[in-house]
Symmetry: C2
Amino acid sequence: MFLNNLSNLSLNQLIDAWPASPWVFAEVSSAESGPFVLIGVLLSLITVYLTSKLGGELSKRLDLPPVLGELVGGVVVGVSALHLIMFPENSAAVTDSVIAQVIQWMGNLDAEAAMHVFESQSEVISVLAELGVIVLLFEIGLESDLRELSKVGAQAAVVAVVGVVAPFTLGTVGLISIFHVPVIPAIFAGAALTATSIGITSKVLAELGHLKSKEGQIIVGAAVIDDVLGIIVLAVVASLAKTGEVDLLNVVYLIISASAFLLGAILLGKFFNTGFVAIADKLQTRGALLIPAFTFALVMSCLASAIHLEAILGAFAAGLVLDETDKRNELDQQVMPIADILVPIFFVTVGAKADLGVLNPMVAENRAGLIIAAFLMAVAVIGKVITGWAVFGQPGINRMAIGVGMIPRGEVGLVFAGIGSASGVLDRPLEAAIIMMVILTTFLAPPLLQMTLKETDVELPTEAALSATE
Amino acid sequence: MFLNNLSNLSLNQLIDAWPASPWVFAEVSSAESGPFVLIGVLLSLITVYLTSKLGGELSKRLDLPPVLGELVGGVVVGVSALHLIMFPENSAAVTDSVIAQVIQWMGNLDAEAAMHVFESQSEVISVLAELGVIVLLFEIGLESDLRELSKVGAQAAVVAVVGVVAPFTLGTVGLISIFHVPVIPAIFAGAALTATSIGITSKVLAELGHLKSKEGQIIVGAAVIDDVLGIIVLAVVASLAKTGEVDLLNVVYLIISASAFLLGAILLGKFFNTGFVAIADKLQTRGALLIPAFTFALVMSCLASAIHLEAILGAFAAGLVLDETDKRNELDQQVMPIADILVPIFFVTVGAKADLGVLNPMVAENRAGLIIAAFLMAVAVIGKVITGWAVFGQPGINRMAIGVGMIPRGEVGLVFAGIGSASGVLDRPLEAAIIMMVILTTFLAPPLLQMTLKETDVELPTEAALSATE
């Protein structure tokens, strides 16, 4: 927001100073604007990929999760700064989007045609971003392993449940009682505090060489359960947001249908998997494994939508089911490139849509948002750190490390912010506060985890040093 | 067309007989129709994948190229029959699309919202189909090998040039003089007769075990050159279609810019490749190889569009360039799943948009289209079969097999039909005639090639039989 005027000014000067369009067409009306929609989508995708790679790599170089860089990159190219990736919902005019203006100039489009191209191109990018979350959750489902959960067992389950209940309750009650936020947005923000990012957590643990330690196993196990709980919470909350009221019967119905859908999918999966493998083995054309699996994920996404749940829950369930087949490694390999090209569209888009201008402390009315962000941040850390002390029957375990390991929110927290913003439940300060919370937890967790785990390590290097001396 | 009334009738009865919508919403206006666009896209994609797999596998079982089945499947689910995959351009109303009607009923949408969802969902599927051709030509570029061409050398070049010039001249002149077709559509149809499908031809040769024979090498070499020539012809013709007149200077400019673009891309590619590999090696986040390569393909597609060429020419050039890097095998592996999910959208959509109703011989005015199809078919076969006799300095070679090997048109021919139809150059009978020609050449070539190559084989089984007797 605070960069709007600057970028608009220089853009208009640029366009005025440019030579007349070299294209041979007369002014183009909206009926003939078809090819320009493709060019608009191509320019948007190029921007998204350059942003995600620059942001991701920079983030990686700073020893932070790449997803953080993609998100921050999205903020830079979006409504908060460069105005490259724009959506009609937060900017009504073609003149707000640099890409739409370039296309209008390239094709010599009239105002109506330019608006049509801008709307169509944004619609396509939005749907591609939604397909991106669907593929992401399908992949998370494929990477999650129900059998691993049974090994870490009860400890992980307790950590997961405390890690969902504590931040949700603290966050929701705090927002309502301290900040007088209406009930539904408060529940939504509370829910956004629940889900630990299994991707970020397990990656950080692997980098620190602690994936196989007792603490590491409990963290990963809890993050997996937490992921499932978080998605059920998301489905419940998103449906609540749709119907507009807190209907206890509806909540119960949703919890039951979410659980039944997920459990039913897993149970039916045992039968389905035999059939699936048989079908995939019989197919002789390209995509023999991928197309049936991907179609299954889309069907489950559609089914989930049809019974009032979120599409991504269906994709996650499809992933969990297909994870049980013998084909899982082959499928993982084939889904990865698809996730590589679709998932960044989602993260960059979430960043691009987040108007960080509302957090500008220079504007008096924004200060409430900043205070909320500070409050969410405190709850996000405290609500997860206490989970370490819920672990029972494990004397001498590093409780702090377990709690800290649950801090990063990552993907699922952003899914909440994106859906909350798309459905209109979250106002801008609250949405921006949630994104700030996700950015900060993701940002804080790796160095904190490194610090807490080093305490355990203190003896290890000493032993190693001793054995080297011997 | 002849099935329209039937399917509309039964659909309307179905919807009238259905219970009231179970969704809790009041009638939804177009501002809130966002999530339904996603559901519409998901339902369309599910239909596309089921169609492409059923059609492809059936085709494969009948020993025909799978792409033929995808195309015919598209015809079945499209405007000619089931009305599942529909586009506003050939059907103005929501009531013409089964999926749009299902969504209107599911979401209890008002007429305006339903039309908005129908238009948005069709726009998304259209762009996904265009991304499908871009990925397809990127993949064909990656599979083409400039070094292989130098081995088969002059023979292949002569076969390729004759195989482009002969059908183009015969087709264009014949359509203008015999059928009094206007010049631009005649040139477009003539151009659609030029490009041999390298995919289908090389696959058929491999299946018959003749890929490494002298005939096989000349066919594959010629098909590669032919592919490049066909794409230049496509770029020329599509640009001609856009500007609306045959401007000789413009043709020369286009031939020069198409050649310069392609050759420049390849020459610059040598420098670029070193940089590309260095960049890909330095990247540490997911998609380190795929995202730079894919972004390069999109940038080249955009550049090609910007200098009045087709986007697909850029994607093909990007593929040719990246084929020269050490990373080509790894890249091939990663592009394959993306092609698997995007390319079928293109083929099924081309089939779905083809209104075969215009070829119904019961309707008097359609007979011209059928006669044109018969003429195109004759030109398509004769124009390629004669190329075998253009081979020089190879006594005893199976000239008929080389000519027959060049017959299948496949992908590139369909690209012509799709672009011609989208740009409005081709009227329906001519578009349908081209699609019929592509279907029939693709359908005829494998058994014909099997027949002509068996003549050469006659001695081989005998020798094998003899050695088995010894």
